[in-house]
Subunit: 477 residues, 2 copies
C-alpha cells in the first residue's frame, strides 16, 4: 500500500483514510467480500495510531461499507466468500488456482521487511548497494547514441547487435565460443531458469541441484512439477560421482550447477571436479545448466572459467546475467546453447512476453563495449573486497567462537555455520526485531543453523555494526 | 541464421561456409546427431547458389563431420537420434517436452517470411511502420532526466512513480479509476494474458473468447490447457446472451474481450451491449479480461470508453499497452484489477522474470507525461486515417466486386470477406510468392475466406500497390 496520509492537509487524518478505503471499495480494488487488513496492520502500513484505524473501521461499518465479526475481521459488505451472492466474481477461487506456487513464506517475510525497513541492516538480498551501480556511466554511454529509428518488435532471440557484442564479451571474459544465433537474451537469469524448467522438462521429471543452493529457494522448480534431488557441496564443489548415483536411482534429466562463488556458500568448484562433472554428464547424456552470475567478481586475481568454456559436446546450457556486475533492474541475462534448443526457448518466450524491451539491450550493448566497463568492474571488485575484509574482521571479532566460515574469494556472500543449536525461523524474527536482515540457510536446503550474509549491500562501517548486532541477537535466542 | 558470407574476402565462399559450419559443430551449437538444413534451405538462408552448399556438404562428409543418408538428410556425425551413443545429450527429447505448444505453423511461416522478405508488402503483423515511432521524442524526453542512482530491483508490481503516472493516464484517457497499488506493469499485453491464463485458471477450465479474435491465434490458451468456447462477433460486438448460454453449457470461468477496434475485425462493441455484458458477467460472477490496445486510435473524434470505466463490481481485469501507440519494442503493458489479484500475479511474475527492466518504465513514464505525447497521438491518428483511406480506395478500386468489408473507424486493421471460395493456406503461399504478407482469417478462428490487412505498416503509395498485387494473387488461386 503506497498511498499515505497527508499530514499537512486540513482534512482530518481519519477522514482521509476513510475516503481512501471507500474509494478502493468503489473502484473494485477491494471487492465485496474481501477482508481488510487488521486494525493493527493497517495502522502500521499507514503509519498512524491504531485508534485512528479503529475509528475509521467504525465509520465504515456505520456507513454499511464493511461488516465486522469477532474472529473473522473486517470484510467489505455485504458478501462473504463461500456463500457469494450474484453480482461479483469470487476472486479468491481464481487466486488460489493456477500452477504457480507462492514464494516461500520466510523469503516473502524477509523481502517484505526489506521494503519497509528504515535504518536497518540488510545482509539478505543478493544485490549491490546503490553506490555500486554505474548509473552515470550507463547514462553517459547511452546518451552518446541515438535511439534506433526502428522500434518494432526485435528478433525473438534478442537484439542482433547486442547478441553479437555478447558473443565477443563471453569470449573475452569467459573464454566461451558462441555465435549470435545460439544466444537468447532473457530478463535476467531468473527468466532463463524459468524457460528451461518450463520448456525442456515435464512434470514428474527428476533434476539434480546443489545442496545447499539458490535453486532450492526458487518455487519455480516445484511449480514446474519437478522432483528435486541433492548434490551435496563440499569445499571443492559437488562430488561428480554423486551424479552417477542419482542417475541410477532417479533417472535425473538435468543438473543445475553454480560452480563459481556459489550462492549461498561462496565456494568454487575445483578444476579436476569440473572436468569430471563434464565427462560424467556427457557419458550419461544429461544436460547441465550452468548458472554463472558472479564469476567476474574474483578478489584474488584468479580467473575461473565456466564449464561451458571446456564443454565440447554441447551438453551445457550457459546462463549468465548483468544483474550482479551492472544492475539488477537492467534485467539483462542470457542463455547460450545448441541452436535447436535456443530456437525452441525463443519461440516459447514469444508466447510469454514477446521478448525483452529493446532499451535495456541498447544500454547494456553500449556499456559493456565502452572503456568505462572494465574500470567499473575493477572498482566494483575493489569495493567488494574491502567490504568482505570488513565482514571477515567483524565475524572474527564478535562471533569468532560462535560461527565457522570460509573466507569467500569472490562474489557477494559469506556463508556461516552457527556452532550452537538454533531455530532459523526464530533467529530471523529476533533479527528483524533488531532491524537486521539475512538469509537463513534453510531456505537454500541446509539444515537449521546456517546463515548467508551479503556484504555487497552495506557500507563498510555498517557491516561492523550489523555483525555486532547479529552477535547480540544470537546471544538472545 | 544471421551469419553471412563475406563476398569481399579472398577466401572462397564455400570455404567460408565450411568453416562456419565446422565452428558451429565444434561449439556444440550443432550437436552430434542434429540435422543440418537441407541444401536448398541453407542456400536460401545464406543467399548463395545451391551448388555451393552441395560442395560444402560433400566436404563436410569427406572430413567426417557429417553423415548423409538418402531420405534423412545431412546429420552431424557420428550419432543419430534414437540410438544415441554416450557422450552427448539427446536434445530433441528435451525440445519436444515441456508445456509450451509451438507457434501455429501458418503464423510462424508468415513471421519468418516477414523477417527475410526484402522489397515486399507487409500487411500482416500488427505493428506500426518505422516512421510512426516517436524515437526522437522518446530520446529527447529521456535525456532530460538523470538515471536514478538506485538501480536495484524495482517493486514486484513495477516502478511506483510510473504506476502513479499510469493511474492518472488511464483516468485522463479512458476514464478509469484506479490507484497505483492495483496496477501491475507487464511486458506488453502478451505477458498480461500469459499471467492471467497461467495463474488464475487451471487446466481443463472453460473460457470464452470472441470469434474471430486475436486470442484464438495465441497458443498460450492451449498451452495452459484451457477449453475455448466462441462468442461470435457481429457488427455490434458479441451478443451478451451468448455468455449465458455458454455458462450454462460449459461453466465458462472467464471471458476475454477486445471491445474497441477489435483484432481482427476492427469493430466496436456498442454501448448498450457493453452495459449488458457487464450486467450478465456480474450476475454470473464471471470475470472479464478486457484487452484494450488501440482504443486511443479513433479516427472520427469519438471516444470509446472501456468496460472497466463503467464496471463498479471489480469484475473486469483491464489489460492495456503502449505497443500500438508508442512502440512495440518498448514492451510496456499493464493489468489493472482487484488488489488481491494484482498481488497474486505480481508474486508469480517474480518467479518468471523478476519484473520488467526499469528503463522502459522510465522512458514511458517521461514520455506519456510530456507535452509531446498528445502531439504524437494526433500525428499518429492522422497518418493512420490517411492510410486507411488509401486502403479503402484501393479495395474499392481493385477488389470492389470480390470482397466485402466495413470501413474501420479506428485501430490498425481492415477485415475483408472474400466472396469467392478460397483456401487460406494456398492464398498465403501464392501471396508470399508475390511478396505480399497478410493474416488469413483462419488463424483467428474464422472460416476460410477472410483476411486481415494492416494499413499501419505500409506507406500510402505502397498500400495501393499491395492491394493491386493482392487482387492479382486472388485471381490466380
Amino acid at each position: 500500500m503506497e498511498w499515505s496520509v497527508n499530514r499537512e492537509s486540513d482534512k482530518p487524518i481519519y477522514q482521509q483514510i476513510f475516503e481512501y478505503i471507500e474509494e478502493k471499495i468503489a473502484y473494485g480494488e477491494f471487492p465485496p467480500g474481501s477482508r481488510l487488513p487488521s486494525e493493527r496492520k493497517m495502522a502500521e502500513q499507514l503509519n498512524v495510531n491504531r485508534m485512528t484505524i479503529v475509528h475509521v473501521y467504525d465509520e465504515l461499518q456505520a456507513s454499511g461499507l464493511v461488516e465486522r465479526k469477532k474472529g473473522s475481521g473486517t470484510r467489505v459488505s455485504t458478501h462473504k466468500w463461500g456463500i457469494l451472492p450474484k453480482g461479483v466474481t469470487n476472486w479468491r477461487k481464481y487466486i488460489e488456482g493456477g500452477s504457480f506456487l507462492p514464494t516461500y513464506p520466510l523469503i516473502k517475510r524477509i523481502r517484505d521487511e526489506a521494503k519497509v525497513m528504515k535504518d536497518g541492516y540488510n545482509m539478505a538480498g543478493g544485490e549491490l548497494s546503490t553506490d555500486l551501480f554505474p548509473a552515470s556511466f550507463l547514462q553517459a554511454s547511452f546518451n552518446q547514441h541515438a535511439f534506433p529509428s526502428n522500434l518494432g518488435y526485435v528478433h525473438p532471440q534478442g537484439h542482433l547487435e547486442f547478441r553479437e557484442t555478447l558473443a565477443s564479451y563471453v569470449k573475452e571474459y569467459h573464454d566461451i565460443n558462441v555465435t549470435s544465433s545460439s544466444i537468447l537474451i532473457t530478463s535476467g537469469a531468473q527468466q532463463a531458469l524459468y524457460l528451461i524448467t518450463q520448456c525442456l522438462l515435464n512434470p514428474g521429471d527428476a533434476v539434480a541441484i546443489e545442496a545447499p543452493s539458490y535453486s532450492y529457494s526458487l518455487p519455480l522448480f516445484q511449480s514446474a512439477g519437478l522432483r528435486i534431488f541433492a548434490l551435496p557441496v563440499d569445499a571443492e564443489g559437488i562430488n561428480p560421482d554423486d551424479i552417477v548415483t542419482l542417475y541410477r536411482k532417479h533417472q535425473i534429466r538435468m543438473i543445475f550447477l553454480n560452480p563459481t562463488f556459489q550462492s549461498p556458500t561462496g565456494g568454487v568448484m575445483t578444476e579436476p571436479r569440473r572436468e569430471r562433472v563434464l565427462e560424467i554428464a556427457a557419458e550419461l547424456g544429461i544436460p547441465i545448466v550452468e548458472d554463472d552470475p558472479v564469476s567476474l567478481l574474483s578478489f584474488d586475481g584468479k580467473t575461473h572459467y565456466p564449464l561451458k568454456s571446456i564443454d565440447k559436446s554441447g551438453n551445457v546450457l550457459y546462463v549468465g546475467s548483468l544483474s550482479k556486475v551492472i544492475a539488477s533492474s537492467l534485467r539483462v541475462g542470457w542463455i547460450m546453447g545448441p541452436e535447436s534448443v535456443i530456437n525452441r526457448l525463443a519461440d516459447a518466450r514469444q508466447q510469454i512476453d514477446f521478448g525483452l524491451s529493446i532499451f535495456p539491450q541498447l544500454i547494456a550493448n553500449q556499456f559493456i563495449q565502452s572503456p568505462e566497463y572494465p574500470k567499473h568492474l575493477a572498482f566494483l571488485k575493489q569495493e567488494l573486497l574491502e567490504r568482505r575484509n570488513e565482514m571477515v574482521l567483524a565475524l572474527n571479532e564478535y562471533l569468532g567462537d560462535k560461527v565457522e566460515f570460509s573466507v569467500p574469494k569472490g562474489g557477494l556472500f559469506c556463508w556461516c555455520k552457527i556452532k550452537q543449536k538454533v531455530d532459523d525461523q526464530k533467529l530471523v524474527e529476533e533479527a528483524i526485531k533488531n532491524k537486521i536482515l539475512f538469509m537463513p540457510g534453510s531456505v537454500y536446503g541446509s539444515p537449521n543453523g546456517y546463515v548467508r550474509f551479503t556484504y555487497a549491500r552495506l557500507q563498510r562501517e555498517a557491516i561492523k555494526e550489523a555483525v555486532l548486532k547479529f552477535a547480540k541477537v544470537l546471544d538472545k535466542v
